[in-house]
Symmetry: D2
Subunit: 340 residues, 4 copies
Amino acid sequence: MLFFENDYGEGAHSAILKRLSETNFEKLPGYGSDTYTQSAKEKIRNACAAPDADVFFLMGGTQTNAIVISTLLKRYEGVVCAQTGHINSHEAGAIEYTGHKVLALPQHNGKIAADELRQYLTGFYADENHEHMVFPGMVYISHPTEYGTLYTKSELEALSAICRDYEIPLYMDGARLGYGLVCPDTDVTLPDIARLTDVFYIGGTKVGALCGEAVVFPKKAPAHFMTMIKQQGALLAKGRLLGIQFDTLFTDELYKKISANALHTASRLKAALKAKGYRFLLDSPTNQIFVVLDNETLERLRREVVFSFWEKCDDSHTAIRFATSWATAMDDVDALIQLL
Amino acid sequence: MLFFENDYGEGAHSAILKRLSETNFEKLPGYGSDTYTQSAKEKIRNACAAPDADVFFLMGGTQTNAIVISTLLKRYEGVVCAQTGHINSHEAGAIEYTGHKVLALPQHNGKIAADELRQYLTGFYADENHEHMVFPGMVYISHPTEYGTLYTKSELEALSAICRDYEIPLYMDGARLGYGLVCPDTDVTLPDIARLTDVFYIGGTKVGALCGEAVVFPKKAPAHFMTMIKQQGALLAKGRLLGIQFDTLFTDELYKKISANALHTASRLKAALKAKGYRFLLDSPTNQIFVVLDNETLERLRREVVFSFWEKCDDSHTAIRFATSWATAMDDVDALIQLL
Amino acid sequence: MLFFENDYGEGAHSAILKRLSETNFEKLPGYGSDTYTQSAKEKIRNACAAPDADVFFLMGGTQTNAIVISTLLKRYEGVVCAQTGHINSHEAGAIEYTGHKVLALPQHNGKIAADELRQYLTGFYADENHEHMVFPGMVYISHPTEYGTLYTKSELEALSAICRDYEIPLYMDGARLGYGLVCPDTDVTLPDIARLTDVFYIGGTKVGALCGEAVVFPKKAPAHFMTMIKQQGALLAKGRLLGIQFDTLFTDELYKKISANALHTASRLKAALKAKGYRFLLDSPTNQIFVVLDNETLERLRREVVFSFWEKCDDSHTAIRFATSWATAMDDVDALIQLL
Amino acid sequence: MLFFENDYGEGAHSAILKRLSETNFEKLPGYGSDTYTQSAKEKIRNACAAPDADVFFLMGGTQTNAIVISTLLKRYEGVVCAQTGHINSHEAGAIEYTGHKVLALPQHNGKIAADELRQYLTGFYADENHEHMVFPGMVYISHPTEYGTLYTKSELEALSAICRDYEIPLYMDGARLGYGLVCPDTDVTLPDIARLTDVFYIGGTKVGALCGEAVVFPKKAPAHFMTMIKQQGALLAKGRLLGIQFDTLFTDELYKKISANALHTASRLKAALKAKGYRFLLDSPTNQIFVVLDNETLERLRREVVFSFWEKCDDSHTAIRFATSWATAMDDVDALIQLL
């Protein structure tokens, strides 16, 4: 079977496994106080051009979202996001579990629109009953979004300006950030993100790591953030596991290099789909490709390829997703193209 | 420097790293639905002689405690434990964060006494105001305890009987379970634990894994336990990372074999300490050794050995802890003995 | 100024104040164990034709919603309601504070549609990712709704049937229940509600009481519901305050009699508005009247009448709400009609 | 039966019922924005000599404790209190339900000792593992305590100084504050309390009100405190119910005058008990009297007097509590004395 189901189907990039082995018997202090973790943080600060950034490593995306959001929100605040935001739909209520409401705005190919955000915030404070309502305390965006789309730099600047006007943090979920950063169509860099957001994370799980996400506070983390990580059960005794992985990913730009593979393979696949007249659900510039298949094609492909069901379009058509990743072999893409 | 600070100073047992590498490029489904995770569960069921057990893998001890306890307790219940229980002191309030009180009983070398537990439960229901109080909804014990001590089989049977009388689950925190199971002094086996508790976990982080704990419900897990794991941010996309590790640890009894190393090295160190007239804070039969040092010795050893400060005894004496582990080299023990 | 702002502008019905005075120096046991509270419960059971019902008294609507919902939901569940449901918009995130998501469905004049509810539930379980999502664990409706509209008996039967198919409770927020029960257009009685829902509350605050809502579980309350009331800070030491009020309201059908006043006064006001050609935002059959005013009329009325702003319709029109209540004097209605 | 069971056995002081009736049909705005509530706040500010104080009215003691504590604590903090503190034992885990640990110190007749508090705080920060522990974020005391005892001014000054050194708020639970303020033995005044604490509440439920407690922040309340009150379900639509009661209690020093009755009656009862050779469990200077009875006396009194069981002392003795209140008639005291 050809595998295009998701971008977390393999283990880790070989360089990571190699470093884990090489350092395995070094006796290191726990909880992220080891030298590899410190080195990884420094490399990330450099890559972000954010020398004062506070960096923390966590295990996965939902965990990161829950900790960052619950830690930054005040008791009476909720988090604003797109209707399709991961936190609003596919995290089993992890945000609400911490006591906060998710305030959904309309989505446009997975993104929120700056004017709608401003309208929402203005409207909130104009409502004379707003003290009986959940205050918007933070804005969550994902980049790439759940649909693989990207914000432009000017879109990010607009969102950032609104958040600063209202003095609420802008938070970017970068579960697939690598695939956004190396996209030929993007004008957004890591330093841009560090400049325009108040906190974001650099996804490892979907970009070459066994596990792990790097949370970056470009200015400053909340006081006692480590204790709150512990309180939510996310402080790893062997912090080295995350430190070594990110130290490797941020050595010699490995993170970007392996991200590029996902884009190259996706690009060839997209071109072939287009050439063969397939219809796209939407135009995604990164590693996720959303295609509308008729029932017959769906059944035929399913026998030889693993992909994700996305949504039923009508009785005879279904949208599906092909995902490539850092680990996708071009041979597999070619084999898939043969089958189309 | 000689390292006796804790039992999580190294990475993973080599067999684990080897298996992670061998399987690295297999394309596996996520969230614990892969074959290695299934195989690990089956091996654990066998080791526990509990063919119907539900097994789940989580990342670390605090996370496991928070998820198990918050999932099993009813809204109006708290968890009973020893004053020195890890959940009561060193988990940053992770249990309370989920909304539940920790109800502390007196500790006896880290253990709770069955008669005191029964007295507490009887007294609770006899108190006519008990509907205004937190109901005892679960009993938490650690084995080995935070002091390295072990419950005897008859002590466990007594606790288990009380819990069944009151229809509340008995939960064992087995962060260091391996070191308890192979202790020459114990009469408690894994099948005993599966028979006498309602849920327990088999610690991986401190016993040879990079990370990970195996939660075992000998009879049945709560409905939708996976969704609650997700809700608390603990569901790993690459579940293989935990599955492969535990599959390795439970192949050919590796878990017990590597645990034995901690006991052998501890045993030699204890004998030497005793021979040289050192005073023990308490008699611990597993891999943690608590010794009372005078200031002069403390200062002298500190220059060449890393160990844990435990508590100040008086102006001229301090209790410290030496910990051995699956990875401790006998040569290091011998070197330490030379320094004593 | 004429007062049509809301239905909680006055204190309590005189009969209530009289009973509070008459019983004031009786020495009664606390926490709802007094005879007046017992008597009130019995009268409510009778009025509901639900002899086995469990009845509890709480202080206000948001408190009641938070306690009922958080107590009935399982950890991994959320509550389904209309987009405009009070819990979704005007309770400051009280439901999310207890850890649960509010799952909003489209609203139709404040109501949810049975077919959309069934579609949502079917769709949820059909989604292969649903274990990563918040389970729908309860359905919340308000009756009258936030727009003063009412469910018909057949609509309630349809919702009830769906909830029973999915084995999730149907909960009715009856903050203004009296005004619904005495509406000439309704075919829904208190026994119908007790038969078709799993829990509902009979609003006191907006229907003649100083404070208080009566929660009715037609079959059975959750175990230790009183302890959970205490845990959420809602157990009144002087439970008599609530018991005496509801005992009075449910003596000689006082609750219905005083509710009728709100309907009579609203009815006369509506007729006059219609006769004078005012445009209604929607057709509400109970005590809330939603009218669209042009700016000039708005300004003119505002000088002599207190009413609620509802929403801006366009640059020259605004929707406002007139509310009548158990305490509205027909003279005030006539005075308002003069001003129209 | 003579009633000495508690201090909340009657309704409200007659002046309160009178004011509720007189103002009943005034049409007042909701949620505490009415003039009576404003007037009550101003009178309380004056009584406290705290012109900048923020004052809020809540319904009951547990609710007040849960809201104040959960609102002031940071996410990683717990509240320090005496082992016997109400929040630690008799509030059904209301504090933990909000996510925070109660950190118990030894009690001395219901009080905490300043030196033990300082030692605890010093020890906490000296512990190198404290980032894995719950930070002490607030100190809770009750005055009078659960045992009817009172802090002296110098004791309060010592606790206050420690809290200011550590920059954590000092919070006083004044459920029975009136009975403390008028105690002949006390040197603590309301202005002292406003000066030495950061927040406290003036109990109404046990001192003449139907319900209600006045929360006073001598300097400043947390931002959006009202929204958080709403979020915890405690915002009363008819805020007048609380405002009018406290406005009455703080007119012409009614609060103190009616409190004095509890002390006078308690004083006569204590003198008689002493004269007749009864043994006291402890010496309480306020309205709660703790007496040790032998079984025979216990049985005899029980037939004609309602009092509270406190604790079993030994097989033949039991400690019980007699409570007087603002409503206790001296005739009842005399009748009880006859029975002794």
